[in-house]
């Protein structure tokens, strides 16, 4: 079933606004399970390619799905839909921050939230690392990425050095 342009835009608007903490799970549920526009296989293909391409995965995936149904116009509609809603919310939050960010109580709350967000990122990394059950080579690749980033090595160099290493390690594991 092919969605109309409006349907496509509205679907992505909804995905953007509901997607707390990363949107891919929400996108799959809506596009595959609720709407039936894509099969599981098709969605997995779009996401898989999106994950290897540079750029935000959710955006790559939206462009891919949009193009499939309505070419360049579909890509633009899906991308704009995905970002329009959250952007509006964030604009509101940012202007509140500009106006009230210096008030001591607000600063205290924000400091608490910032600390929690830092912990959340750490916890996510630990969780992902354990779930991956890496081989020694993959673990070394990950630790090296951590170390190089903390030493402030420019990211292009880190990726140039470690992406081939990781892919080689994954290739060896697969065999």
């Amino acid at each position: 079933m092919t969605p109309s342009r409006t349907q496509l835009f509205l679907a992505y608007l909804r995905i953007g606004l509901t997607g707390f903490g990363g949107v891919n799970a929400w996108a799959r549920q809506l596009l595959v399970e609720k709407k039936g526009w894509l099969t599981d296989q098709q969605y997995a293909e779009a996401l898989g390619v999106g994950q290897v391409l540079p750029g935000p995965n959710a955006l790559n995936c939206a462009i891919n799905v949009g193009t499939r149904f309505h070419g360049a116009a579909g890509a633009a509609l899906a991308a704009i839909g995905l970002f329009a809603g959250p952007m509006a919310v964030l604009l509101g939050v940012a202007s509140l921050y500009d106006r009230y960010g210096q008030i001591p109580l607000v600063r205290a709350v924000l400091t608490g939230i910032a600390a929690a967000a830092a912990g959340m990122v750490l916890g996510t990394a630990i969780k992902m690392a354990i779930k991956l059950r890496p081989t020694a080579m993959l673990l070394a690749t990950g630790l090296l990425a951590l170390l190089l980033a903390l030493l402030r090595v420019p990211l292009p160099l880190v990726l140039l050095g470690l992406a081939p290493l990781g892919i080689w390690a994954a290739h060896r594991t697969a065999r």
Partner: protein
């Protein structure tokens, strides 16, 4: 400066393999350490706001742009972050099926994961350094990390708890 902002985020866009959090150390290096556009603590707070709001986490880039240069900065950062990647994704969309069966795709997908996790861990450390301005923030950081790691509840609870603790104790 607006052009510089756009170019900085365009480069980040093409380096963002493994999501927004993986590109955060480089974003921090560029806009806090090299350019000095934003203070470390402000960077941590804006990132936290973007996490707490709905939608793709990459919108952290947009709030940074807003903070640096107002609405024009927001536009420059957002377009910079999205446009290069979007154009690339659009060019590749036509060959998705063929690509998804390429023999190198699975190793590439799988091999990039540890790199992304390492970079996300680095984001966490850098954000913790920026947000850990005293003993209580460090308690919140550790508590939140444990909560997200050991439980399956939504991480938004940790953010809310952090805000409440900050309200009463800081």
């Amino acid at each position: 400066m607006i052009l510089q902002l756009f170019l900085t985020f365009s480069l980040l866009s093409l380096l963002a393999i493994g999501g927004a959090n993986a590109v955060l150390p480089e974003m921090y290096r560029q806009i806090v350490e090299i350019r000095g556009w934003i203070e470390p603590a402000t960077f941590a707070q804006l990132f936290a706001l973007a996490q707490a709001a709905p939608g793709p986490n990459i919108l952290a880039a947009s709030v940074m742009g807003w903070r640096i240069a107002g609405p024009v900065g927001l536009g420059a950062a957002t377009l910079g972050m999205l446009l290069p990647a979007a154009i690339l994704a659009w060019c590749v969309a036509g060959v998705t099926q063929r690509l998804s069966r390429a023999p190198w795709l699975r190793p590439a997908q799988f091999g990039l994961v540890p790199v992304a996790i390492g970079l996300i861990a680095a984001s966490g450390v850098i954000m913790a350094e920026a947000a850990g301005t005293g003993p209580l923030p460090w308690v919140i950081i550790l508590g939140s990390a444990l909560f997200v790691w050991r439980t399956a509840f939504s991480p938004l609870w940790a953010l809310a708890a952090g805000g409440v603790l900050g309200w009463f104790l800081l």
